[in-house]
């Protein structure tokens, strides 16, 4: 019983509400899973640059990280944020090989974890309450076009920051999931045989990698998710976010809950209907619906995805 939530705005005037709306939406879901909370937010675009969020559970040699980053690309920003760093790298003059970059980072600084990478996406997650997370990273004032969130009740793997949601598998792609994958080991094994490296033992990570692999094969997001419905067994409702989209997928047995709130201004998705009542600008005339078994729904923002960053 985890909780998932997502918001996607139809009007850019509302972007400024994203932080507070997402907090209000996710907070009632803490009763579904009090272990950890996390969000993936699409905001503060850095076209032609790259945004990184690095975290370390304990003390880390941040100065060494910084000087290594300098050797890769010009570091424009290196801000302290919670127990991590929010970094912007200037890649306008030099293309960075992201796969190589990630590999070097992992080998040289094993205590450092790459939370997210992209031009829009920022992932914040931590053990504990939503209020804690939002305060620690000052997310209430966060503006953005869309975002997804998660509260976790751990069933399949340990409770720590890295096993919390959202999971990312590619630049500007992240996922939150409620449920279990029953063919997880087979799925993981087949993805590993294709050269995909797993960072955690969480079954949700496998879904993120599966989607990335499908996209790399040239499938559209919708087709990738159709394939997923046939290839992944288990109970799942999940949200996957890209630079300009949020997709909702419900398994073929409708085993896990989801409700959709729709107004001319925004779309909100949550595990439970009561979350919508908590929205600061709750509209009682909103259209509220539930996805059908095996249904895929995709919403787009007005954002144009930047062509600069490719999947790696």
């Amino acid at each position: 019983m985890c909780g998932i939530a997502g918001i996607i705005y139809r009007k850019s005037e509302l972007y400024k509400n994203l932080g507070i709306d997402l907090l209000q939406l996710i907070q009632p879901l803490e009763t579904r899973g009090p272990d950890s909370c996390g969000v993936g937010i699409y905001s503060n675009s850095v076209p032609h640059n790259i945004k990184l969020l690095l975290f370390a559970a304990e003390q880390a040699a941040w100065e060494e990280v910084k000087s290594w980053l300098h050797s890769q690309a010009r570091v424009i920003k290196f801000d302290v944020i919670g127990s991590g760093r929010r970094i912007i790298l200037d890649t306008s003059n030099k293309t960075l090989d992201l796969a190589e970059f990630k590999q070097h980072l992992a080998t040289q600084f094993p205590q450092i974890h790459l939370m997210s990478i992209g031009q829009l996406l920022e992932i914040y997650k931590e053990v504990g309450t939503a209020e804690n997370l939002f305060q620690r990273y000052q997310l209430k004032g966060f503006a953005g076009s869309h975002g997804i969130g998660h509260t976790r009740m751990a069933t399949e793997s340990v409770v720590d920051t890295y096993h919390s949601h959202p999971f990312t598998s590619a630049p500007d792609l992240c996922l939150v999931h409620n449920g279990q994958i029953s063919n997880y080991y087979k799925l993981r094994f087949s993805l590993e045989k294709k050269g995909i490296a797993f960072e955690t033992d969480n079954d949700s990570e496998a879904i993120a990698h599966y989607i990335r692999y499908q996209l790399l094969q040239g499938f559209s997001l919708e087709q990738a998710l159709q394939n997923l419905l046939n290839d992944i067994d288990g109970t799942y409702t999940f949200l996957v976010a890209t630079p300009d989209k949020i997709a909702l997928v419900r398994d073929k047995f409708a085993a896990k809950p989801a409700a959709i709130y729709e107004t001319p201004e925004m779309i909100a998705i949550a595990s439970e209907y009561r979350c919508f009542l908590n929205l600061p600008h709750y509209n009682p005339n909103a259209k509220i619906s539930e996805p059908d078994a095996g249904e895929i729904k995709i919403w787009s923002t007005t954002n144009k995805p930047s062509p600069h960053l490719e999947l790696v």
């Binding site: 409708a254 009561r274 009542l277």
Partner: protein
């Protein structure tokens, strides 16, 4: 928080825990005092395990509303979450809105009316109650139904009445697909009379719908492993 008006007690849920609300309801039920709940705000487990009381709820409720209750009369003016009236023994639950999944799960008796749509698995394992849904029902409704009656004025999602044992389902709209061991049965005059009678209370005329009747084909009663391929 506790204000008495003639013949009806008001309970404001806003500043009470769910346990406190249900304890108050139990105390009021011992004297059969009708009660109105204000500000339910989609809260779970309201009015669970209560007997002999009329409760009106002004707003949406969460999971398991009215579950395990006996001889009650609950009216919800709003939508409701999963498993409304789960294992109801007797009485009435009326939802003036939509219901999420598992409406009337395992309900033994009484009547549950959803005056809107119901989600997946409506009437799952129904054991004798009557479930009326004036809108549509979702995927795998009446799954493993054992007794009782389900009336759906709208459409039924895929896999209706999968592995049904007993009981009757009437669907006024389209049936996406029937599950294993469910079959259509011609409507009799008695069926139409029964539907007219049941729906009259809701000001609905059964004749306005193209009702179809679904019952158990009873093939799985004598299941043999060699017949596996049929399923």
């Amino acid at each position: 928080m506790h204000q008495t008006v003639p013949q009806q007690t008001l309970i404001d849920c806003a500043n009470l825990t769910t346990r406190e609300i249900n304890q108050k309801l139990k105390a009021l039920a011992s004297e059969s005092i009708p009660t109105k709940l204000l500000n339910p705000a989609g809260r779970h487990n309201l009015a669970v395990g209560i007997t002999q009381i009329a409760i009106s709820i002004a707003g949406p409720v969460g999971y398991y509303c009215g579950g395990l209750s006996d001889n009650i009369n609950i009216e919800v003016f709003g939508d409701c979450g999963w498993s409304v009236g789960e294992n109801l023994m007797s009485g009435n639950i009326t939802i003036h809105g939509n219901a999420s999944a598992n409406a009337a799960a395992s309900a033994h008796g009484g009547k549950i009316c959803i005056l809107g749509n119901a989600g997946s698995r409506a009437g799952i394992s129904l054991k004798g109650a009557t479930l009326i849904v004036t809108g549509n029902v979702g995927y795998s409704s009446a799954f493993m139904m054992q007794q009782g009656c389900m009336i759906v004025c709208g459409n039924a999602g895929a896999n209706l009445a999968d592995s049904i044992y007993e009981g009757t389902i009437f669907v006024g709209g389209e049936i996406n697909s029937l599950g294993a061991d469910a079959k259509l049965e011609p409507m009799s005059d008695a069926d139409w009379q029964f539907l007219e009678h049941e729906l009259a209370a809701l000001n609905i005329s059964a004749k306005d719908y193209n009702f179809k009747k679904v019952i158990c084909a009873k093939q799985l009663y004598h299941f043999k492993a060699k017949d596996w391929a049929n399923y």
